[in-house]
């Protein structure tokens, strides 16, 4: 799982028009997408997500910043080089854009013709992908003889037949009913798992959000949140298991998770020290920590914390110095919440403070 990211975006800016009429649509965009990851881009229209998608797809020239796709830096490439990059990407559009004059088979075959592949192999692949998509019996039908869902599946087959390591899709299910949309996303999911392809998907269709590994939300040309869904779900579950957070709604929980920052520490790192001023709240995602209190000259271990446990809240709530030292005993991943965000979260729930106080009471 130690692959290079398929997409690595660093400080990408983009503007349309020139001079007075220039309008910037992307600001300081940073994003990484790993192989096998399904990233759903959401955001209001005009937020720049489609522009970002076309930049990643080598359909536009990078104006500022760095954009690496499939190991190639796109910034500064010639038109010809960009065209060559596109061949390794699968594109799915909202409209199927199939040639009416070509059969389903021929439309898919168009994607294979760009790749050096012997005729037998190409034929086998086209047949296989159409069969996988449930179109074996419609292979030689022309688009007008196919249903909307079938057409979109042909378009999906066309995007996937050359086994791209990156698939870019723009509203691929917008024109489809629930079942047809589900078929399409299932195939995408399979591709992500089996071929370890990265999939970047712009959609407003909340019926398919569940396939996302990450949900990236853009507003006004900036990424305002980048949520690793599973992680977020796990974190919410951890928080909800604690009596302290049990009363909060999922929305509030996930808002708290969004604001948390992930940190990794090697074994033996002191996360907080007794007597210091508290600045963060900690939740352990993976690994182990020991809690110790100064007992004269030596440290007395009072507790061991593991995955799902949290600490550091007391100093924030009471304004007193840290009451104990927490040292990692293993490779540890923690999520931290800053003082202000923590205070805001506490304020969000009246019962929150009481709950915490109760917890402290129990600890003493």
């Amino acid at each position: 799982m130690s692959d290079e990211p398929v997409i690595r975006i660093r400080q990408v800016q983009h503007a349309f028009g020139t001079g007075e009429a220039q309008k910037q649509v992307l600001y300081d965009v940073d994003l990484e997408v790993m192989p096998g990851e399904i990233v759903i881009m959401t955001g209001p229209s005009g937020s720049g997500k489609t522009t970002l998608l076309t930049l990643v797809g080598a359909l536009r020239t990078v104006q500022a910043g760095s954009l690496q796709v499939l190991g190639h830096e796109l910034a500064g490439l010639s038109h010809k080089q960009l065209v060559a990059i596109r061949r390794n990407i699968g594109f799915i559009f909202q409209a199927h854009n199939l040639f009416d004059s070509l059969t389903a088979y021929q439309n898919v075959k168009m994607a294979m013709e760009l790749h050096d592949c012997d005729a037998h192999e190409a034929r086998a692949r086209v047949t296989a992908i159409l069969t996988t998509l449930g179109l074996a019996h419609r292979m030689h039908a022309k688009p007008h003889a196919l249903s909307g869902g079938q057409r979109q599946r042909v378009a999906v087959a066309r995007a996937l037949v050359h086994r791209p390591k990156l698939v870019l899709a723009d509203e691929p299910t917008a024109a489809l009913d629930k079942d047809a949309g589900r078929e399409v996303v299932t195939v995408l999911q399979q591709l992500a798992v089996e071929e370890r392809a990265a999939i970047m998907l712009v959609t407003h269709d909340n019926r398919i959000l569940d396939i996302a590994d990450r949900i990236v939300n853009m507003v006004d040309g900036r990424i305002i949140s980048d949520v690793v869904v599973q992680e977020s779900v796990a974190m919410c579950a951890f928080l909800a298991k604690c009596p302290v957070f049990a009363q909060l709604t999922p929305t509030t929980l996930s808002a708290i998770v969004d604001k948390m920052t992930k940190e990794r520490h090697t074994a033996g790192t002191a996360l907080i020290r007794q007597g210091e001023v508290g600045d963060k709240f900690y939740l352990i995602r993976r690994g182990q920590c020991e809690v110790s209190i100064a007992d004269g000259a030596s440290q007395r271990v009072v507790n061991t914390l593991a995955e799902g446990d949290f600490f550091g809240e007391m100093a924030l709530l009471t304004g007193t110095p840290r009451s104990a030292t927490v040292v990692t005993t293993d490779e540890t991943e923690v999520y931290t919440l800053g003082k202000e965000d923590f205070a805001a979260a506490v304020a969000a729930s009246a019962s929150f403070k009481e709950q915490l106080l109760k917890v402290f009471f129990q600890r003493q």
Partner: protein
Amino acid sequence: MWPATHISLAWLNLTHNKRRLAVSIAGVVCTVLMMFMQVGFLHALFDGQLELLERLDTGLVVLSTRTRTLTDTTPFPQRRLAQALAVSGVVAVQPLYVASATWKNPHERRTRTIRVLAFDPMASVLRIPELERSRDALQWADTALFDVQSKPSYGRIAPGMRVELARHTLRIVGLFTLGTDFVYDGTVLMSDRNFGRFFPSRLSAEGALRRVDIGLLQLAAGVDPVLVQRAVLQIVPADVLVLTKAELRAREMAYWQDSTPIGFVFTLGTAVGFVIGVMICYQILFTDVVDHLPQFATLKAMGYTNRYLIAVVLQEALLLSGLGFLPGLGLTQVLYIVLARLTGLPFSLTVWRTGLVLLLTVALAMVAGIIAVRKVVSTDPAEVFA
């Protein structure tokens, strides 16, 4: 029923919509017909001018330098032919006399001008098959052959009829076929001796024909006419031209191109046909391109180069021109036969003319394709995502 390894997108796009294809082909067929008609008329009219020239049984032709066209000759001294005969390679010389005379229609008593061609009836001067049967009859006094392709206003003429030519009675002893041109609507053939009788003004004081309108230099088999031409020009005075048949043909054509608007009119007609053809083809191809713009943009996003897409559109143009040209050629053949019957003009579908129209058809489709393809080139694949 597996499709071919390489998909001919151009062919499939073009033939997908059968009704549109039929209309498109009809458009190109019309263009092809229009150009064939213009080219046909142009050449039919010019071919008529060249008919006499083509019948001359000779390798080289001698003309006065003042003769601009065979239909309006200025006579030159007969001695020039005798001088030319001295050149090796020239095996015989033949004088051909031309005059125009008044002809009286035997039925209506109306007069018209007719061309008189005269030569030694026993010699081979004009390649006219009907001449063979009448050589003896032409040696008699006041006899002539009448061209059946002369305009009807000369009257219905049959062998044995007596008619009036240049106020003398002439007996028609046979018919032949030559055809009309811009100057003469009819022709009679007679012997050189009879020519002297009908046109005494052409006789010298000694009573001989001393001045020739068209001189023929008949060459030995296998000699190069150009070499002989060079040798003849070295010994004859500069008052005559010595031309190969090809040179004379070019000279006649140039004369008619310059002195009549025919060349201009029909060349312009062909050009107009070409331009209309470009517009028709452009309309067809542009509609096709616009209808497929999202698909073309998708191909671009998939990594297809502009060059590939240009090739697709130009292939469509080429196929369209081919699909239109073939039925157009077939129809032209039929129309040429009909027109030849109606006008009496020689409409002929030569390889050269067919090639010319084919070239024009392909060219106009290509021009249309190049204009239409700009739309494909300028399409931004990023737009497909919008």
